[in-house]
């Protein structure tokens, strides 16, 4: 093996655009399926958005979840949900959003007392409480943030590229976010503020590859004005393939470190970004570029039709 390693010594010659209709339909199908999933299964909103109280405890005796549940039932918290979190002695206890009794400011102390009574030394590690009204506000703010981030990026892409490119980019972006959220629904990952931050980061980052490819397409079209668009697109995607894979790899490397070693709180955050970035890379090649090509073909067909019409009707 030569050093430094060159994964793409020769320019790859994949014919991405030959299958453009397939990829576009495939992505449409996937998106529709995701929408169906979201409607059927919904998202697992955490207390940030649904309201409620979350108590993270560390119990020295590393009891089973069943034992924790019994202790809480004995302490009159029958409705609490219990989840192992990170290590065997760490637990997340969620108190219902609808029961005001369980949300009183000092409920966590009663939880601690109940656990201590049955299971021994218990440390309160984290308490989060979000009132139902605040949860609703955070939901609205989150939706607005996603909307404005998307609009901001749309405006930027619109300024920088022609409309066709912008459409391709936005479709790719929506595709990435939709599918990522779909996976969160599938796995019932808890939607917290941190997960929302990851989705917002994704909105900003997922277009990265798309923009690099589009930049190259624009450059190649000026260089080879007489080539068919499909082959210019193929060339551009192939030319940027190496760098796409390299940048995605470095970011993924770091995210994997965060995922495996960054601690429980950062776990879901890095998970969302890992999925999103993989999807973003896929969509830059298989959604954004084919859409651009189809739009271009459609434009050209319109122009031909108009020219034909103009030729048929004699000029006055």
């Amino acid at each position: 093996m030569r050093f430094p390693i060159r994964p793409f010594e020769n320019l790859p010659q994949f014919n991405f655009m030959g299958w453009r209709r397939f990829w576009v339909w495939f992505s449409i199908l996937l998106s529709v399926a995701t929408l169906g999933l979201l409607v059927a299964r919904g998202l697992n909103y955490g207390i940030d958005f649904a309201g409620g109280k979350l108590v993270q405890v560390q119990i020295v005796s590393s009891p089973s979840i069943g034992a924790v549940r019994e202790a809480l039932e004995a302490g009159s918290f029958p409705a609490a949900t219990i989840q192992n979190y990170g290590g065997p002695n760490e637990f997340l206890i969620r108190l219902g959003a609808n029961d005001p009794q369980l949300q009183t400011p000092l409920a966590e102390q009663r939880v601690q007392a109940a656990l201590q009574a049955k299971l021994g030394a218990t440390e309160l590690r984290r308490v989060e409480f979000v009132g139902p009204q605040v949860g609703g506000e955070l939901r609205v703010q989150g939706a607005l943030a996603m909307l404005f981030a998307t609009i901001g990026i749309l405006i930027y892409v619109w300024f920088r590229f022609e409309l066709r490119y912008g459409l391709g980019a936005i479709l790719a972006l929506s595709h990435d976010v939709l599918l990522t959220v779909g996976i969160l629904s599938l796995l019932q990952t808890e939607i917290t503020l941190t997960v929302l931050a990851a989705i917002l980061t994704l909105i900003g980052y997922s277009l990265n590859d798309t923009i690099v490819i589009f930049d190259r397409i624009r450059e190649n079209r000026q260089r080879f004005p007489n080539q068919a668009l499909a082959s210019v697109l193929n060339l551009s995607v192939n030319q940027t393939m190496s760098r796409t894979i390299m940048t995605v790899s470095t970011t993924l490397l770091v995210l994997c470190m965060l995922y495996f070693f960054g601690g429980e709180v950062i776990h879901d955050f890095s998970f969302v970004l890992i999925i999103g970035i993989v999807l973003g890379t896929y969509s830059s090649v298989f959604v954004a570029s084919p859409v651009l090509l189809l739009l271009e073909e459609w434009y050209q067909k319109m122009a031909r039709d108009r020219a034909a019409r103009d030729a048929a009707t004699p000029a006055p």
């Binding site: 060159r6 989060e128 009132g131 931050a197 690099v212 965060l258 601690g263 955050f269």
Partner: protein
């Protein structure tokens, strides 16, 4: 920038930033004692850790709007009662609630009297078919009440928190009805919450001699239960209130149990003296937030303006109550609407895990770049390290708080920082394949990639700015780290990497680039 030569100013700027960033990053690696020992010309500031990393409580309290109105209408009710005495206003069925004050006038023409007397409070009168009159405040007056209550709440909370001796607390108004209270490093959050959220309305009521008749409470009286759980009827209007206190201190009662000593101001002393003189042998109730703490008997006239609240206190409860009474009562009830409390051990665990992830991520990126770009990868690696120190230095110098998501953001920008370099190097590879000479390939790489670098980073920046605007504490920290990281990485890749590679080229004059 003209081609192969970087301007001397740019080089100077890079060196200056490098030196500064090292100096500004240094305090973060030192203990507080070592920081103090640094010479005066060096920066001493270290990054502030967010509550999620150092532990502490973040509380959002909301002033209960219903309670504000309830209290204001109780006052209005008193004013109406006063008019009954002073202006011969005839009425029946006077009562108040959060919706207003209701009464039935004996003489309907007296509405004019009411309207004229209560004009200052912008009272609106409405009389229904049954002749019942409802008095309500005008909207602007209610808004004024709310603003005043919020301002007073902030002030009281601030002095309460000060009394608890928390280092660097944050007390901040949010919107029209909320107050953010941040208590970094606070140990016993439950105790702090109990003390901060306490309304602390202290009232002294005379105990009534009347007995309740089959559950019906006579007008002007209030039914409470005393400290032993026995029903107790007291005068509804307090004879004295906590507003007439000058100081409170924790103490012990005659049996050695924790208690709180209070001292009245001159008006309070006078009223208390009068009250005790007129009511020797009668009981009075000390009521805090609707709960009777004790109901002792006036054994003699008390002229010195001092009293003691005893009850079943734990010593720290007595301390907290004294602190809260000193700070004054809240104008209305407050509700905790949001809380995020992180124990110190969890914060320390988070820092540990974050640093491990950062270290491993850094090593992974450095190795990766070395493997795939050789010597040029080394240049990129130097730039990435510079990047990291510069990011830490800027965040430290600008006084940003480091949160756990912020730490994740810093780690993430490590991965993104090399993106710019990858773009440049890949471009160079292409230029070489196109048959360009080494120098032309180097310059072509930087030039060709610049616009793409800008484009791809700007979309991320847009998202980061939106996050900064809409996000709360920890998320804001992430947005800050991400945006600074992106800007810094753009800067280093087009200055430092370029400089390193060009100066290497001038020395080595290679026939082909080692890419």
């Amino acid at each position: 920038m003209n081609g192969a030569n970087l301007s001397i100013w740019l080089k100077l700027a890079v060196v200056a930033m490098l030196v500064w960033s090292l100096l500004a990053t240094l305090p973060n690696l030192l203990t507080p004692a070592q920081r103090d020992a640094l010479p005066a010309f060096m920066p001493h500031q270290a990054m502030t850790l967010g509550l999620d990393l150092q532990g502490g409580a973040h509380l959002v309290l909301e002033v209960n709007q219903t309670d504000i109105l309830q209290r204001a209408y109780e006052n209005l009710e008193d004013q109406v009662r006063e008019l009954g005495r002073s202006k011969n206003l005839g009425y029946t069925g006077l009562s108040s609630g959060p919706g207003g004050v209701t009464l039935t006038l004996r003489d309907a023409t007296q509405t004019t009297l009411l309207r004229d007397e209560l004009v200052r409070e912008q009272v609106q009168l409405a009389t229904d078919a049954a002749g019942q009159t409802t008095l309500t405040f005008g909207e602007s007056f209610i808004a004024e009440l709310q603003t005043r209550a919020l301002a007073q709440t902030v002030q009281v909370l601030r002095s309460r928190v000060d009394q608890f001796g928390v280092a660097e607390p944050v007390i901040q108004q949010q919107g029209k009805a909320r107050v953010i209270v941040e208590l970094p490093g606070v140990r016993d959050v439950g105790r702090a919450k109990a003390a901060i959220g306490k309304t602390a309305q202290l009232n002294f009521h005379l105990v009534s001699e009347q007995a309740s008749m089959g559950g019906i409470i006579p007008p002007g009286l209030l039914a409470l239960t005393d400290e032993r759980g026995q029903p107790l009827l007291v005068q509804r209007r307090p004879s004295l209130t906590g507003q007439m206190l000058t100081s409170a201190a924790s103490a012990f009662d005659e049996f050695g149990n924790p208690a709180v000593d209070i001292a009245f101001d001159s008006r309070g002393t006078q009223l208390f003296a009068q009250l005790s003189t007129e009511n020797v042998g009668k009981r009075f109730a000390i009521v805090l937030d609707g709960k009777v703490y004790s109901a002792p008997v006036f054994r003699e006239a008390i002229l010195g303006g001092r009293a003691q609240i005893s009850g079943s206190f734990k010593p720290e409860e007595a301390q907290d109550l004294a602190a809260v009474l000193n700070a004054g009562a809240l104008p209305a009830k407050v509700d905790v609407v949001e809380e995020r409390t992180i124990g110190p051990s969890l914060g320390a665990d988070s820092i540990g895990a974050g640093l491990v992830a950062m270290g491993l991520g850094l090593v992974a990126v450095l190795v990766f770049m070395g493997l795939f770009y050789g010597l040029f990868g080394l240049a990129a690696n130097i730039a990435v390290l510079f990047n990291l120190t510069l990011l830490v230095a800027i965040m430290t110098a600008m006084g940003f708080t480091l949160t756990l998501p912020g730490l994740a953001g810093m780690i993430l920008t490590l991965g993104m920082a090399v993106d710019s370099n990858v773009l440049i190097f890949e471009r160079m590879r292409e230029e070489m394949k196109a048959g360009k000479k080494p120098l032309a390939a180097i310059l072509g790489g930087f030039e060709g990639a610049f616009r793409t670098i800008l484009d791809s980073n700007i979309t991320s920046l847009i998202a980061a700015v939106v996050m900064f605007i809409y996000g709360s504490g920890p998320i804001k920290g992430f947005a800050v780290a991400l945006s600074i990281g992106l800007i810094v990485s753009m800067f280093t890749s087009i200055t430092l990497t370029r400089w390193l590679i060009l100066s290497w080229y001038k020395r080595a004059r290679p026939a082909a680039l080692p890419l």
